[in-house]
């Protein structure tokens, strides 16, 4: 009997619940914008030959480059990983300079200071962004050799 009463009570509860779900409803939209994936490619910042104690500056227009492709007209946040030297303390690098443009030309490009701090730039109407970087290498009694260090640019959608 008790079991029958419990079952009856459960059925009544389900029935009552069913009666409440038949009331007024409302809905919202869950939305998302799917955009093209970002990609970045780069070319080297080459200082060429330098004397053991000297300095050499490469302007960004003649320097390394990064090319970004992604979604049309999307703003992006850009950061740089910049070395302090080219693999030896006697070959220091600094005074970073840069240019950015939505066209693949330094003409009309805007000045940019490469930094680990995020900067907001915008991709072009066709999803492109071009960046040029320069710097100054200072050698101090540097041994004769070839030196290199990585320079990284990271781009994220805002």
């Amino acid at each position: 009997m008790r079991r029958s009463l419990s079952l009856a009570a459960a059925l009544l509860a389900v029935a009552a619940g069913t009666a409440r779900a038949q009331g007024t409803t409302g809905s919202i939209n869950a939305t998302a914008s799917v955009v093209a994936a970002l990609s970045v490619t780069g070319t080297n910042l080459a200082f060429g030959n330098i004397a053991p104690t000297s300095f050499k500056t490469i302007a960004p227009a003649s320097g390394g480059t990064f090319t970004v492709t992604g979604a049309n007209s999307q703003p992006v946040s850009v950061t740089f990983g910049l070395p302090a030297n080219l693999g030896a303390a006697s070959v220091a690098i600094g005074s970073w300079t840069g240019l950015s443009n939505t066209a693949n030309s330094v003409v009309g490009a805007a000045a940019l200071t490469p930094s680990a701090s995020a900067q907001t730039l915008s991709l072009s109407g066709t999803g492109n962004l071009y960046v040029w970087i320069g710097a100054t290498v200072t050698t101090t009694a540097a041994p004769v050799a070839s030196y290199t260090a990585p320079v990284t640019m990271t781009v994220v959608y805002n």
């Binding site: 004397a51 053991p52 104690t53 070959v91 070839s146």
Partner: protein, 159 residues
């Protein structure tokens, strides 16, 4: 029953979120440099105009003029610029028409002509040595008698 079913459907939707496309990308390039043998520049001879009279002009050809010797990494091109005085330290002694010769041996014979300038010029020293000769034209206007001198500077950097 319907209420429980709706809750289950919502829970299923929340769990089955679509995969997100890459919103971040990075690229690594390289900064490179090659350290070569130190460059040395030696001034081996002054540009001597000798004696010049008032209101006269005197030209010294480079083969008889001032000389520089450059030493550095064999086979590497260098960029050469000159700081040339406009006068011989007096406004009535203007210098002009600078001329030059360059060779990889210490002989002006078969040396190549070049125009000394503040504009960089690329020269190559196959043996790691460059020899340069400089000449110019001095014009003496109504210059007071005296001895006059002015520096001529060469700057050499690796390309």
């Amino acid at each position: 029953m319907r209420r429980i079913t709706c809750l289950l459907l919502v829970a299923a939707a929340l769990l089955a979120r679509p995969a997100r496309l890459a919103a971040q990308a990075s690229a690594t390039t390289a900064a490179t440099a090659t350290v070569l043998q130190a460059l040395t520049v030696t001034a081996t001879g002054d540009l001597l105009f000798g004696t010049i009279a008032f209101n006269a002009t005197k030209t010294i050809a480079p083969a008889a003029g001032g000389t520089f010797q450059v030493r550095g990494e064999p086979g590497m091109p260098v960029s050469v610029t000159f700081t040339l005085p406009a006068t011989l330290a007096h406004p009535t002694l203007p210098l002009s028409a600078w001329t030059g010769l360059v060779n990889t041996t210490p002989s002006s014979n078969s040396a190549v002509a070049f125009a000394p300038s503040a504009v960089p010029q690329t020269l190559s020293a196959g043996s790691g040595r460059l020899y340069l000769w400089l000449g110019a034209t001095l014009t003496a206007l109504s210059t007071p008698s005296g001895t006059y001198t002015a520096p001529v500077t060469i700057t050499v950097v690796y390309n």
